[in-house]
């Protein structure tokens, strides 16, 4: 049977893995290649790296990290952060990544999803969405690292992304990100009703039960988290055993 996936997420800045809370208060954590290898050995199903480097010159440092990860890790990994063009996709895929995740740039230029999917295949195009609940109880898409509200409906945008050619949706709930109160089940359920491509739940993991809820109640295909793994609060193998005991298919 197809398993649900556990995905540690690594934010990389200036060549180091860092972790912030609610997009602020950035702390240094580890070397990206070393941490990636450790997670892979511990049973992570996939990895995601976000380049949160601000300046353009430092992009080359990041590409070098992608190459090193590809040499040392034999599980799939996704690269995101600052992806704008089909050429950005090409560079990252050539460096050895399996998928590329696009966020803000897809909102301003949705064609890039279609172009990248045609050129490299839908399987490597991940549409990443930062979403926040509004007063009406629906979800708005935010761009530019969560700084700008587009007022676009997040569930509609995910559906449109699928139609444009995205192979997977990574939905990051800004309401729950970094506060360890659980994944946003309401948002995941809404996505499950309209999407036929896999959904990665992101934002809010604090306990092992939160992961079970994302899979059993939110019907997510994968769950992504950072700090609970970086700070050893939840060992990956222990989490996967816990989930399997609740009859969630896991690769053990």
């Amino acid at each position: 049977m197809l398993t649900k996936r556990i995905i540690p997420c690594l934010d990389v800045r200036d060549g180091r893995v860092v972790k912030g809370t609610k997009f602020k208060d950035i702390k240094d954590v580890d070397d990206p290649v070393r941490l990636a290898k450790r997670y892979s050995d511990e049973g992570a199903d996939e990895l995601v790296f976000y380049d949160i480097t601000a300046s353009y010159e430092e992009r080359d440092i990041f590409l070098n990290i992608v190459e090193r990860v590809a040499q040392h890790v034999n599980i799939p990994f996704t690269i995101g952060g600052g992806i704008r063009t089909v050429d950005d996709f090409r560079k990252i895929l050539l460096a050895g990544a399996d998928k590329v995740s696009i966020n803000s740039a897809a909102v301003t230029n949705p064609d890039v999803i279609t172009d990248a999917a045609k050129r490299f295949g839908s399987q490597c195009v991940v549409l990443s969405i930062d979403a926040k609940e509004n007063a009406a109880g629906t979800f708005d898409v935010f761009i530019k690292g969560g700084r700008e509200n587009t007022s676009i409906d997040a569930v509609e945008w995910a559906k449109r992304g699928q139609e444009l050619g995205a192979g997977e949706i990574c939905m990051n709930s800004m309401d729950t990100d970094g506060v360890k109160d659980g994944f946003n089940i309401k948002l995941l359920k809404a996505l499950d009703e309209v999407l036929t491509i896999p959904v990665i739940a992101s934002g809010g993991a604090g306990t092992m039960q939160h992961f079970a809820d994302a899979f059993l109640r939110g019907n997510a295909d994968a769950a992504l988290a950072a700090s609970v793994f970086h700070y050893d609060e939840i060992p990956i193998m222990q989490l996967k055993r816990f989930l399997q005991e609740q009859n969630i298919e896991m690769r053990l």
Binding site: T3, A70, N74, P76, L93, L94, F120, G121, G167, R251
Partner: protein, 201 residues
């Protein structure tokens, strides 16, 4: 020396990296004169069937591969590379494949999500040297929307189930195919690639 066939369709570096990690040498090349001197070949690939066959044709690799296989040399197709080994595909039209394995490539018609993306388990159909040391139930990493429908069950070594049962590892003579990505399938994928390298070198 393992030859990785470069026909501009998908990521070849990861197959090269995985072989290097096992202590073997490989060369990525589109050139028949380089490939013909290799001990065994790997045909990787992601993307559309139509593009894959067109790319092989443009590089005049089809006649070369026909000859390679006729002489009983080893060829391993991975993902799209495996699908290309079959007779034909129904991916957005009807396209002729290389025809080394009898059978067709069909789209998943299922209530389940497509693409079939993630880790799924292997179900044994028969023994083969290519799966030495691998147990039924081990997991490998898949990403695909189309699957092979084999004509001969004896060509299938491992199946996988996703709505229906489809071939995950096939072998007919020295032509081998893997629908998943062994280079991305952690320890199990490593063992499969190691078996292939040991068999062929």
């Amino acid at each position: 020396m393992i030859g990785i066939i470069d026909y501009d369709i998908g990521n070849l570096a990861n197959v090269h990296n995985a072989i290097a990690a096992l202590g073997y040498q490989s060369i990525i090349s589109p050139d028949k004169d380089v490939l013909k001197n290799c001990d065994a070949l790997i045909l990787p690939g992601v993307g559309a069937f139509e593009d894959g066959i067109a790319a092989l044709k443009n590089r005049e690799l089809i006649a070369f591969l026909d000859d390679w296989v006729k002489k009983d040399n080893f060829l391993l197709g991975i993902c799209l590379g495996m699908q290309l080994l079959f007779d034909k595909s129904y991916e957005n039209g009807v396209w002729s494949g290389l025809g080394y394995l009898p059978g067709d490539i069909m789209r998943f018609e299922t209530e389940l999500k497509v693409p079939h993306m993630g880790w799924n388990s292997l179900i044994k159909n028969r023994d083969d040297r290519i799966i030495d040391d691998i147990q039924e139930g081990e997991y490998v990493y898949f990403v695909h929307s189309y699957y092979a429908v084999e004509k001969n069950a004896t060509d299938v070594v491992f199946y996988t189930e996703y709505g229906i049962r489809f071939p995950a590892v096939v072998r007919r003579g020295n032509v081998i195919g893997m629908q998943f990505h062994p280079e991305k399938s952690a320890a199990t994928g490593k063992k499969l690639l190691k078996n292939y390298l040991e068999m062929t070198i």
